[in-house]
Amino acid sequence: MVADVKSALKEFSALLGEEHLTTDAATCSTCAVDGKVPRLIVYPSTAEEVAAVLKLAADSGFALIPFRNRTKLDIGNPPERYDMGLSLKGMNNVWHYEPADLTISVEPGLKLKELQHLVARDRLWLPLDPAGDGQASLGGIVAANASGPLRHAYGSPRDMVLGMKIATVQGKIIKTGGRVVKNVAGYDLGKLLIGSYGTLGVIVEVSLKLFPLPGRRETFILQPGNLGIARDLRRRILESPLSPLRMVLLVASAGTKLRVDAPRAFDSSRLEMCIDAGGSDSMLMRIRTMLEGIAKELAVPFESCNAQDAENTWVHASDFRRWIGEGHPQAIVLKICLPISASEQFLSMAQQEAENAKARMAAMSLLGVGIVYVAVLDSLGAADGEHLTRRLKHSAENLGGVLIVEQCPLELKMRLDVWGEPKDDYEIMRKLKMAWDSRRTLAPGRMIGRI
């Protein structure tokens, strides 16, 4: 941080008004990232203010991290510097909502739950269920390209963003894309911001594509005896015309008791495959019949869930990363991205590794997507934790995928690059970062290669 903090603070204050910033230590400590506590939190309420804050921060040599509800702040390498937090909780406007066009434009602070509530009255939704139980804001969801089990049918925010406005450290507001569903004018800068974790600019408005809500829903639970059978089930379902909305496999070490309200799979060594289907009565009937048929052929127990169990299952599956973390502050939560075919094999390796390390684990696998979340529940200590993580990373890479450490104790985090090693496209990423944020004002050091 530059020497002249006081005059900078004055300028922020002049810019936003006293009431829109705080230096209160208690407040600042709630916004700590990986142990680093900011000196200042600002609460801009317009896009122009965000842009001005960014410029001022850059000019003052401050490092800044944007956030709203802090549901994903633990993802990323420890920040190299962190002087101020930029809270977007004052930006919750819906600028444009046209149900017949299936589009909506919102400010980044709006929570997913609020948006869903707004559009549900027109029987629409934004089919995303990332961790955070609806508390995550749209700005954060887009900046992290955060998704959950619904990704199976609907994809990730990347597939739903039509356009956005971005505040840059140059103090500009940049427009990219638009409000229409098809648009190829100019470079798709929005793609760069999606999944950039606030390291390039701050999203100040995002336009999204909405979808019609499915008529009825039903959740089915299948219990494959082992991962081999789970793989056969997955193959059969993906090759069938069934198109479930969500399909996850829940795995936990024997004797793992996570929480009273946890889905059943996490209470035992049983595998549970949960499938969420949507549509009309006749569609659900057909899906049930087909699933039952497949289950029978593979001798897998099959049942249809009651509404409350279903709700409970999906809330936990979507929020896996967060609620595991809450219950086990020392847990290591890993996200493994794999070719679809490798999920079960990786899970089996993970079970073995956890057993070797004498640690309990729980996992949630998006079977049709190839994304697996693994949580190592017991505190291992930094050295053992690192050893286990590296073993699993090695397994993931051998299967043609990558491993990302999404959450872990700080001392372990200091020993790793949570994103893994940069590859041959890193140099371009680094140059892009410099093109957008040459003074490294935005979340310095947090992205891949400590960019």
């Binding site: 648009n183 190829v184 004018a185 100019g186 994304i371 892009l432």
Partner: protein
């Protein structure tokens, strides 16, 4: 005739069969499907990434630009030469490198033809979803460059949703690999930026794409209307009913009379407009959605709603639609197709405006829309030998685009900016927006080696359409 030094170097980097340089051959590389531009210094046909790297190196050293070209079916001039340069024609890099069905992926070279990929995996029950009307000829490399769409992108998204990884040769000769076979590789989404960059950021030499499962059932409906307004209203009414068809296309009476004359697909020539609607998925879903759509159409005064009874009938209807541009090509010697996008609820208004423009400039305009997406393809008919008509065409096109922008839409939905619309970019982007785009280009392509004069405005003809209308035949 002895070849110039540049050519000898290019031959050394590849082989004699891989370089065209004689005047009579270069003549054939001055056009694409839009327009006629200038001739390249040479055309090189690499077959490997290494050859591309060598050619790029020579170009950089000699200070000539490099323009990638697939099949040359683009409609914005992207694969033509705007400034002095050599063309890298990727038509011989046409191998499907890998098909991995369990992972729903394929790895292809950029010269593979879109439909050839779908054909290669159809027996196993898969296909590549983006289906531009030129899909039987256009290449996947071109699709990546233009972020191509097509009728079925309404439900399945455009190329950017299906291209997951790229191998790219950069202007300094470095080869990078973006994205991956799996989702969510850490780091910035370079694939997402390069898709749709129209060959201005690098030369894509390999593409990893997603393959989709063919649906169990498909139903194709043809809704016939006596008033255009009713057809346009129906579009929003269908989505308002919670139905997302796989495709929702509209053609006006003028267009479908031409289409009918060309294909004999059974389009009603006495109607004012038709909607071609396709629903797919689970049998039960398709059945119910088709019924619901039929009801919506009738509520909106459709005269008749037909359902294709066989695969042949369905194929014929689509043949009519996919060949619609060409069918209108039979009516007048030349046409100019626009590619504006508007929010779909504004369709009725836009059509009225189009009719006004038609009158204002005394032109005939055929209306073909990807109506579900709000992506308009008004086709302006003309005879290039009539210079005054050519001028009116350009003015009419400009008015139509301006209207799209005014309605909150875009200047191009799927055809790209290229050399056609780069001077129109300021209509939708501020100088700040454009400056950021220039920076992106500066990162990938600092020397401006790749495809200069495209996408970003050059400032030479501010606010003008740059099409050289009617050149050639």
């Amino acid at each position: 005739m002895k070849s110039p030094p540049l050519i000898r170097e290019l031959v050394r980097a590849t082989n004699t069969e891989a370089v065209l340089w004689r005047a009579e051959d270069l003549l054939l590389y001055e056009y694409d499907a839009l327009s006629v531009m200038r001739q390249p210094e040479a055309v090189v046909f690499p077959t490997t990434t290494e050859e591309v790297v060598r050619v790029v190196g020579i170009a950089a050293q000699q200070g000539v630009s490099v323009i990638p070209r697939g099949a040359g079916t683009g409609l914005s001039g992207g694969a033509t030469v705007a400034e002095r340069g050599i063309l890298i024609a990727l038509s011989r890099m046409n191998k499907i490198v890998e098909i991995d069905l369990e992972n729903q992926r394929a790895r292809v070279q950029p010269g593979v033809v879109n439909l050839d990929l779908s054909r290669a995996v159809e027996d196993a029950g898969y296909y590549f979803a983006p289906d531009p009307s030129s899909q039987k000829a256009c290449t996947l490399g071109g699709n990546v460059a233009e972020n191509s769409g097509g009728p079925h992108t309404l439900a399945y998204g455009v190329t950017t949703h299906h291209a997951l990884g790229l191998e790219i040769v950069l202007s300094d000769g470095d080869v990078i690999h973006t994205g991956a076979k799996f989702w969510d590789r850490p780091g910035y989404d370079l694939t997402g930026v390069v898709v749709g960059s129209e060959g201005t950021l690098g030369i894509v030499t390999e593409i990893t794409v997603r393959l989709c499962r063919l649906p169990e059932a498909v139903k194709t409906l043809l809704a016939i209307f006596d008033r255009v307004l009713d057809a346009t209203r129906t579009v929003a009414a269908i989505t308002a009913r919670g139905i997302t068809p796989a495709a929702l296309e509209m053609m006006d009476g003028f267009t479908l009379r031409a289409v009918e004359a060309a294909t004999g697909a059974g389009y009603p020539i006495d109607s004012a407009a038709v909607l071609l609607i396709e629903v797919e998925g689970l049998r039960e879903a398709v059945e119910e959605q088709a019924q619901a759509i039929e009801a919506v159409c009738r509520e909106n005064s459709a005269r008749e709603v037909r359902c294709a009874r066989s695969e042949e009938e369905r194929a014929l209807l689509w043949k009519g639609r996919k060949n619609a541009f060409g069918a209108l090509g039979r009516i007048a010697p030349n046409y100019y197709v626009q590619d504006g996008v508007i929010p779909r609820t504004r369709l009725p208004e836009m059509l009225e405006f189009t009719a006004e423009v038609e009158k204002r400039y005394a032109l005939r305009i055929g209306n073909i829309f990807h109506a579900g997406d709000g992506n308009l393809h008004p086709l302006i008919m003309f005879d290039a030998r009539d210079r005054s008509e050519c001028e009116r065409v350009v003015r009419a096109a400009r008015d139509l685009i301006a209207k799209c922008v005014e309605m909150g839409g875009s200047i191009t939905g799927e055809h790209g900016v290229g050399v056609e619309k780069n001077e129109l970019m300021p209509l939708i982007f501020s100088e700040d927006d454009l400056e950021m785009q220039r920076r992106i280009k500066g990162v990938f392509n600092p020397s401006g080696l790749f495809n200069p004069g495209k996408v970003l405005p050059t400032g030479k003809m501010c606010g003008e359409l740059r099409i050289q209308i009617g050149a050639g035949a």
